[in-house]
C-alpha cells in the first residue's frame, strides 16, 4: 500500500506553492469584484507545465494522473487563483480519449487553451443535463446529424479566452457525444455571481457548426467526475487557507489578557476546520486513487470528495470570519473573498446537492449488492 505523496508529487505541490506566491491573486480576487480583470495566470500555468498534466506523453504532455492535477488545484484554491485549469484539464482529458489527438500537442504546451461544457451523466432514466441559465437543470445541447449545435448552458467556468471549445452534447438519438465548436461562433456571456475570483459565463449555441468527435459516454462520464474531484481539491485549498488564517489570528489576537486561541470556544472551532480538512483530504486521495486505478469507484469517490469539500469550505470560511470577530466581516479582510469562492463553488457543476445525491445512489446500490450476496 502506498497512500502518501510520492517525492515527485511533493515537488509538484511545492512548485505550485512557489509559482502562485509570485502573483497576489487574493488582491486580484478583491479587485475583480470592482470589475478589474483577473491576474493573467496562463503564462504561469504554461511555464509550470500544468497545461499538459493530463495529456499523454506521446501527445506532448506530462501523462500524469488526475490526482497530480488535484495537487495543483488545491494550491489554486488556497490562493484564490484562476488559472483556467478546470476547463482546460477536463477538455484535454476528453480529447485524449477521442480521435482528435492532433489538437493535443498545442494544448499540452499551452500555446492554445481549451474549455469544455460538461454534462451530468444520467442517473436512473433521465438524460444528460447541464446547468440551466435560469437555475436548475436543462438538457445538454443537441448536435444535429448535419453538424449543428443548439442549446445553452449556464454558470460555466473557464470559457472566457478559450481557443478550443468542447461541448458535452446529445445527438438526434439522445446519445451523448463530444462536439468541437469554434468559441468565436458561440455566444459567451461573462457573468459574476457573488464570487469574481474565477471567470464564469453563460454560453448559447444557435445552430452553430460543430464537429462530432465520436461518441463519448465513457469519456464524458470520466471528465464529469474528474472535474468534481478538481473542484473538491480547489475547495480543500480554501479550507487550508482558512485554517492558516484562523490559527495565525488566534495566536496573535489577545482578549482578557490572553491569546484568543487559548480559549476552548475558539480553539475547538479551529480544530473542527482541521477535522474537515483531514476528512476532505482523505476523500480527495480516494478520488485520485479511483480515477487512476478503480474506475468503477470513481463516481462514489469523486462525489464523496466533492460533497465533503464543499461542506468543509462552507464551514471553514464562516468559521474563519467568526474567529476574526467583526473585522472578519469587512471588505478589507480576505475572509469574504474565500467565503464568496466557497458559496459559488458549491453550486457549480451539479453542486453539493448533486454530489450528495450521487453518493447516496452509489452507496445504496452497493448496499443492495452486499445484501443480495449475503442472502445467497
Amino acid at each position: 500500500m502506498n497512500f502518501s505523496l510520492t517525492d515527485e508529487q511533493g515537488f509538484l505541490r511545492e512548485a505550485a506553492v512557489n509559482a502562485l506566491s509570485r502573483i497576489d491573486t487574493v488582491a486580484g480576487a478583491r479587485a475583480a469584484l470592482d470589475g478589474e480583470p483577473l491576474p493573467e495566470l496562463w503564462p504561469t500555468a504554461r511555464e509550470a507545465g500544468w497545461t499538459g498534466l493530463l495529456v499523454p506523453e506521446a501527445d506532448g504532455g506530462a501523462g500524469l494522473e488526475a490526482f497530480d492535477a488535484m495537487l495543483v488545484l488545491e494550491q489554486c484554491g488556497r490562493r484564490l487563483a484562476a488559472a483556467g485549469l478546470i476547463g482546460h484539464l477536463a477538455a484535454t482529458l476528453v480529447l485524449s480519449r477521442t480521435e482528435a489527438e492532433e489538437l493535443l500537442p498545442a494544448l499540452a504546451e499551452g500555446a492554445r487553451r481549451a474549455a469544455i461544457v460538461l454534462a451530468r451523466p444520467p442517473a436512473a432514466d433521465e438524460g444528460w443535463t447541464v446547468e440551466a441559465i435560469g437555475g436548475g437543470r436543462a438538457s445538454a445541447p443537441t448536435l444535429s446529424a448535419d453538424g449543428r449545435l443548439t442549446g445553452a448552458a449556464g454558470f460555466q467556468l473557464d470559457l472566457t479566452g478559450a481557443d478550443v471549445l468542447l461541448v458535452a452534447a446529445v445527438d438526434a438519438d439522445c446519445e451523448p457525444c463530444v462536439a468541437l465548436v469554434d468559441p468565436g461562433v458561440a455566444e459567451i456571456e461573462p457573468i459574476t455571481r457573488c464570487d469574481a475570483s474565477r471567470p464564469l459565463a453563460h454560453v448559447r449555441f444557435y445552430g452553430v457548426p460543430a464537429t462530432r468527435l465520436g461518441s463519448g459516454a465513457d469519456a464524458l462520464t470520466e471528465a464529469w467526475y474528474v472535474a468534481q474531484a478538481l473542484l473538491a481539491a480547489d475547495a480543500l485549498g480554501v479550507v487550508e487557507a482558512m485554517l492558516e488564517l484562523s490559527v495565525s489570528y488566534a495566536k496573535d489576537r489577545h482578549a482578557f489578557g490572553r491569546p484568543i486561541g487559548s480559549y476552548q470556544a475558539i480553539k475547538q472551532q479551529i480544530v473542527e476546520i482541521l477535522r474537515h480538512a483531514g476528512t476532505t483530504r482523505s476523500l480527495c486521495f480516494y478520488a485520485g486513487y479511483a480515477a487512476q486505478a478503480r474506475p468503477q469507484e470513481l463516481a462514489l469517490a469523486a462525489s464523496a470528495a466533492r460533497f465533503a469539500a464543499e461542506e468543509a469550505a462552507d464551514y471553514a470560511t464562516r468559521t474563519c470570519i467568526a474567529v476574526h470577530g467583526g473585522i472578519g466581516a469587512t471588505w478589507e479582510h480576505d475572509g469574504h473573498l474565500y467565503w464568496r469562492r466557497a458559496q459559488l463553488s458549491r453550486l457549480l457543476l451539479g453542486g453539493v446537492g448533486d454530489a450528495g445525491d450521487r453518493v447516496a445512489e452509489e452507496i445504496i446500490e452497493r448496499a443492495r449488492v452486499t445484501a443480495a450476496a449475503k442472502a445467497n
Binding site: 497512500f3 490526482f67 475547538q268 479551529i270 450528495g356
Partner: protein, 392 residues
C-alpha cells in the same frame, strides 16, 4: 498511489487466506464491537490464530510476533473478516499492553508474560481511567505504597474492558503525591485474582455491561510488579496510549459498521427516493468513508517510517457522527420498532462513545495545542504538588 499488496504482502495474504479457509469452521461466531459473553472459545481461537502467525503481526519475532508492518496487520484483520471468522478477542492486550511490556518490561517480565498473552492463554486488561480521572489521566488517585513485601494498592479503576475475564491488568498508580502530578506515577502488573481486587460490571445506558469497575483494597504486589521506572509511569502510559491511537486507526474500520451495513435496514423502503433522506445518507456515508481513507493515509505514513500525528484521532468523531446519523435515519424511516432492535442499541451507544478514549473536547484541545500550536488554557495544576491540588 496504490492500495495493492507488495509481493511479500501478497504472499502473506495468500498464506493467511489458505489457513483461514482450512480452519474457519473452528472460529466462534463473529461479534460486533469488542465485547463477548464468554471469552473462552475466543481465546482458544486466538491461540490458533497465533499459531498461524495472525496475532501480534507487528510484534518483534523474538517475542513470538511476526516482525512485520502495519499493512500486514491490516491484511490479517481483513482476511479474518473476509473468512467470516472472529477477530482477536484480546485486541487491547495485543495492540497496546503487549507492546508496552515489550518496550518497558525487564527480560524476565517479558519472558513470563508476553507469550502467554499472545496465545490467549492469559487475558489482560488496562487499568488506567478512574471515576475522577479520565481525560485528565495524570490526575489519578489510586495509591501504591511501599511495604516490606513490595507494594500495596488502594483505589478504584473504571471503563475496564474484559476485566472479569482477565488474569492480569496493567495499572497506573500514584507513588508520590508530593510532586507535580505527572511525576509521581508508576506502572504495575496486577494479578486480577489477588486478594482485595473486586470486579463489578458497569451497566451502561444501552443496558449492556461491556465495561467494569475495579475496586482495589490493600492489594499486595510483589516488588517485581513494577513496569518501567518507579515514578516514571507517565512515560510508560504515553507509550500505551500511542499504541492505542495506532490500533484505533485500523480497529475502527473493522469494528464500526460499514456504510453498506448502515443502509441495510432501509433497503426496500420508498424513503430511499426522498431527496432529504438521500442527502442524509450522503452525509453519513462521507463521514464513514473518510475514516477508511484517513486510516489508509496514516498506515501508509507508518509504512514509510513517519508517525501519524494526533490529528488522526479526529476520525473517531466522524465514526460516532456516522453511527448517530444512521440510527436516527433508520428509526425515523422505520418507526419506533427500530429503537427496540440492533439499531436502537447502536443509537444508545453513541452518546457514550463521544467520551470513549478521551472526550471529544479533550481530543480537540490536545490537537489544537499539539498540531496547530494554539496556546493552552492557563492551568492551575502546573508545577504544583499533586497533594496540594483541588480535587473532587
Amino acid at each position: 498511489m496504490n492500495l495493492d499488496d507488495t509481493p511479500t504482502q501478497a504472499e502473506f495474504r495468500a498464506r493467511a487466506r489458505a489457513w483461514l479457509a482450512e480452519h474457519r469452521h473452528e472460529s466462534p461466531p463473529q461479534v460486533r464491537g469488542l465485547h463477548v459473553e464468554d471469552p473462552a472459545p475466543y481465546r482458544v481461537w486466538q491461540g490458533e490464530l497465533a499459531q498461524a502467525g495472525l496475532v501480534g503481526v507487528t510484534w518483534p519475532v523474538e517475542y513470538g510476533g511476526g516482525g512485520l508492518g502495519p499493512s500486514e496487520e491490516m491484511i490479517a484483520a481483513d482476511e479474518i473478516a473476509r473468512a467470516g471468522c472472529a477477530q482477536i478477542v484480546d485486541h487491547i492486550a495485543i495492540g497496546e499492553l503487549g507492546p508496552t511490556l515489550i518496550a518497558y518490561g525487564t527480560e524476565e517480565q517479558k519472558q513470563r508474560y508476553v507469550g502467554l498473552m499472545l496465545h490467549g492463554e492469559e487475558g489482560w486488561c488496562q487499568l488506567f481511567s478512574e471515576p475522577a480521572a479520565g481525560s485528565d489521566l495524570a490526575g489519578i488517585t489510586t495509591r501504591a505504597r511501599v511495604n516490606d513485601c513490595g507494594w500495596v494498592l488502594n483505589g478504584q479503576k473504571v471503563w475496564t474492558t474484559l476485566a472479569q475475564f482477565a488474569d492480569f491488568g496493567l495499572l497506573l498508580a500514584r507513588t508520590d503525591p508530593d510532586v507535580p502530578k505527572h511525576r509521581g506515577l508508576t506502572m504495575f502488573i496486577v494479578p486480577m485474582n489477588a486478594p482485595g481486587v473486586t470486579v463489578r460490571p458497569l451497566r451502561l445506558m444501552s443496558g449492556s455491561a461491556p465495561f467494569n469497575e475495579i475496586f482495589l483494597d490493600d492489594v499486595q504486589l510483589a516488588p517485581d510488579a513494577v513496569i518501567g521506572p518507579v515514578d516514571g509511569g507517565w512515560g510508560v502510559s504515553i507509550t500505551t496510549l500511542m499504541y492505542e491511537r495506532l490500533m484505533a486507526l485500523s480497529a475502527f474500520e473493522h469494528l464500526a459498521p460499514s456504510p453498506e451495513a448502515l443502509l441495510e435496514p432501509l433497503l426496500g423502503s420508498p424513503a430511499l427516493n426522498d431527496g432529504n433522506v438521500r442527502r442524509r445518507i450522503a452525509e453519513l456515508t462521507v463521514d464513514r468513508l473518510a475514516l477508511r481513507y484517513t486510516a489508509f493515509r496514516a498506515l501508509s505514513d507508518l509504512e514509510g517510517g513517519r508517525m501519524p500525528g494526533p490529528e488522526s484521532g479526529l476520525g473517531k468523531i466522524g465514526v460516532v457522527e456516522a453511527g448517530r446519523k444512521a440510527a436516527a435515519l433508520i428509526s425515523e424511516t422505520l418507526g419506533p420498532d427500530a429503537l427496540a432492535g440492533e439499531w436502537g442499541e447502536l443509537a444508545a451507544e453513541m452518546p457514550g462513545m463521544r467520551s470513549a478514549g478521551g472526550t471529544e473536547e479533550i481530543l480537540r484541545n490536545t490537537i489544537g495545542e499539539r498540531v496547530l500550536g494554539l496556546p493552552p488554557e492557563p492551568r492551575l495544576d502546573k508545577d504544583v504538588p499533586f497533594s496540594e491540588l483541588a480535587r473532587t
